[in-house]
């Protein structure tokens, strides 16, 4: 096989892996949007916040150490213990549930029945608050996150493809585990929403708020639940991205990457989020590979958006979304 084609195949595979991560973030958006009609801009910051909290708990950092030191002139940094990864994940999840409750209680309960664009702007505010709180709590420096996932090149794929094509594919173990985790997560979510009582209530709320309310489903509880699930998805996404490129501010920018994924897949469809993520992941990598050199590179920054823009003009509901969008 010619080299170019093999390169393209490798790029495609890597794009698929990146797409899985986009899909993970997009999934969090879709869950909240379906259940409450809120377009949660803060999803990416939630991933950052979750990853920061996880690292902080694992390393035994003192929360708000920076602030306390500044006020009282003390010199505290760490408790001096290390929490095992699994326990830290559970503790982080507790924090995310508390966050879900607080968001519901203090923000969105007061904004029920407002226009969607107003809710969207409120989540932008929320994103700023969480970013500031996360940085003050755990410090703004770049942190390493290691929860024991395998890293580095996958030798087996490298050797097998080398024997078959005479060219070894470079695929990161981390990407493979991210894919596996994402598949498990989606399967679990589908099982949850199909076979459990709470999951069915969730779907009922997503279909029709008032009807769900009239058969005795507590909207408040469901909204906290769905924000908690979104927090969990954010945590998973945060772990994956954090393990890949360190826990830092740019993590929150993946939320912006998830927006075109949603445009493509449709705002209301979980499979749409996943397929949209894969298309964007592969598309931007291939575009960068094929067209990028001609226009000076770094097309990854905008390719997804322009693709989404084209979709908006010709098929506003996305590939799988319901036709709820108001046409003008």
């Amino acid at each position: 096989m010619p080299d170019q084609l093999l390169f393209a195949m490798e790029v495609t595979l890597n794009g698929l892996m990146a797409g899985v991560l986009y899909a993970l973030v997009a999934l969090g958006f879709v869950l909240i949007f379906k259940a409450s009609g809120i377009f949660n801009y803060a999803q990416g910051v939630m991933a950052l916040f979750a990853a920061l909290t996880l690292v902080g708990i694992m390393d035994g950092q003192v929360p708000f150490a920076h602030l306390i030191n500044a006020i009282f002139g003390t010199e505290i940094h760490h408790f001096g213990w290390h929490v095992p990864a699994l326990l830290a994940i559970v503790l982080t999840m507790v924090v995310m549930v508390a966050l879900a409750w607080a968001v519901q209680r203090f923000i969105f309960r007061h904004l029920v029945n407002q226009e969607p664009i107003l809710l969207f702007m409120a989540t932008i505010g929320l994103a700023f608050v969480m970013e500031g709180v996360g940085d003050i709590m755990w410090g703004a420096d770049i942190k390493k996150l290691d929860v024991g996932l395998p890293q580095g090149i996958n030798d087996w794929i490298d050797i097998t493809t080398f024997e078959a094509f005479g060219y070894g594919f470079f695929i990161d173990n981390l990407d493979i585990s991210a894919t596996v985790v994402a598949i498990i997560l989606v399967a679990a979510l589908i099982a949850f929403s199909q076979y459990t009582k709470q999951g069915r209530a969730l779907r009922a709320v997503a279909d029709d708020h008032q009807a769900a309310l009239s058969v005795g489903i507590s909207l408040n509880f469901i909204w906290i639940l769905v924000w908690s699930i979104a927090g969990f998805v954010a945590l998973v996404a945060g772990i994956m991205w954090g393990a890949k490129s360190g826990v830092q501010f740019s993590l929150s920018l993946i939320a912006l990457k998830a927006l075109p994924v949603l445009m493509l897949g449709g705002f209301t469809s979980i499979p749409g989020a996943i397929i949209g993520g894969l298309i964007i992941g592969v598309g931007e990598k291939l575009f960068e590979f094929l067209i990028g050199p001609m226009v000076g590179g770094a097309t990854e920054n905008w390719f997804a958006y322009v693709l989404a823009l084209l979709f908006l003009v010709f098929r506003p509901q996305g590939l799988f979304g319901e036709k709820i969008i108001e046409r003008v």
Partner: protein, 358 residues
């Protein structure tokens, strides 16, 4: 709510259709103008100009621009930073390409160029709205920043990728470049702000502005009573782009002097201007000023109190600023979606009835 007051009579049509038909507002406006033009320039120094007045005036223009689009016409835009970059780079190209032409004309022309670009990116608004449109404008933001970064023609092939403003003068007074006096910077911005605010105020209370508001309140009803939605939306994008372009051009040439697109016109600029509009008041020219003043003063205040007063580290103050501006957005959206302008209006109405509220 009628913008009239009892006991304040108009006897001619021209009196009735003045920019400020209420006598008290009119006098207040004259006083503010007099102070801004005749008092402030004599007392301004470099610190006040660079930290407070010049950014406030420039952001006020940008906020007016975004307010026309978001507050009056109801089209949310997250691309303000990118659009300001269009203004800045076209101003740079014009300044270096035609050095003999006055900078005032360059700034106005870059406003026009930005208007054209923004109208182009406003085309999707004819088919989509709400946050779908917001995402479409995000596309503009990222695409424009990438464009100005990658195409070296825009920054005249300079090695650093930066653009820096050459020295230009108006009536023999240097207004751009490193040798500019504080009061000259202030005055040129003030002249543009006054011009923009008067244009915006009169556009928004005239037939164009009413069409925008009709589209914002209910587009289908507006179309039925004879407002052409395509025309109304695209004019809103165009006018908004003109103001944002002027703001971008001034921001680069007068305020920064040298700029790098990703740093000066990134997505955070878009959010900053959006926050000004929300906090100041959607659909109010006064609100744009109030919001711009608030968002410019907040970091200065925090820095002076926390870093200067209490001796805290700078990064802590920066993070606190994130928290405060984010929570303010949420609080305003919950308590008072019409922002500081509405609070001001309420205070006026309360005071008018005081001390007998019934």
């Amino acid at each position: 709510m009628f913008y009239r007051e009892s006991g304040d009579f108009s006897t001619t049509y021209s009196q009735d259709s003045q920019t400020f038909p209420i006598r008290f507002d009119r006098y207040r406006y004259y006083v503010v103008l007099a102070v801004a033009f005749l008092v402030v320039p004599f007392f301004i120094n470099d610190y006040w100009a660079n930290a407070v007045f010049v950014p406030f005036l420039i952001y006020a223009i940008a906020a007016i621009g975004l307010n026309i689009l978001t507050g009056y016409c109801g089209q949310v835009s997250l691309g303000t930073g990118g659009f300001m970059a269009v203004g800045a780079y076209s101003c740079y190209k014009l300044m270096t390409g035609f050095p003999e032409v006055s900078i005032v004309i360059h700034v106005l022309l870059s406003g026009g160029i930005t208007a054209a670009v923004v109208t182009l990116f406003g085309l999707p608004s004819l088919r989509i709205k709400g946050f779908y449109l917001a995402v479409a404008t995000l596309a503009a933001q990222f695409f424009l920043v990438w464009l100005f970064n990658k195409v070296s023609w825009f920054y005249n092939y300079s090695a650093s990728g930066q653009i820096s403003a050459p020295e230009r003068s108006v009536f023999g007074i240097i207004v751009t470049g490193p040798n500019t006096d504080a009061w000259a910077k202030y005055m040129i911005c003030l002249v543009f702000v006054t011009f923009c605010a008067i244009v915006a105020r009169n556009l928004t209370r005239g037939s164009v502005g009413r069409k925008w508001m009709a589209i914002r309140d209910m587009d289908i009803a507006a179309e039925i009573i004879g407002v052409n939605p395509m025309k109304a939306k695209l004019t809103a994008f165009m006018v908004s782009g003109f103001f944002v372009g002027i703001a971008g051009a001034l921001f680069f040439s007068v305020y920064l002097g040298a700029a790098e697109v990703g740093e000066s016109f990134g997505i955070d600029k878009s959010f900053l201007v959006l926050f000004m509009v929300i906090i100041g008041g959607l659909g109010s020219i006064f609100g744009s000023f109030a919001g711009a003043a608030f968002m410019v003063l907040l970091p200065v205040l925090l820095k002076n109190v926390l870093v200067g007063g209490l001796g805290w580290p700078t990064d802590l103050a920066a993070h606190l600023q994130f928290i405060i501006s984010g929570s303010l957005i949420i609080i305003f959206l919950i308590m008072e979606p019409h922002g500081l302008a509405q609070l001001w209006r309420l205070a006026k109405e309360k005071l008018r009835l005081w001390p007998f509220p019934h």
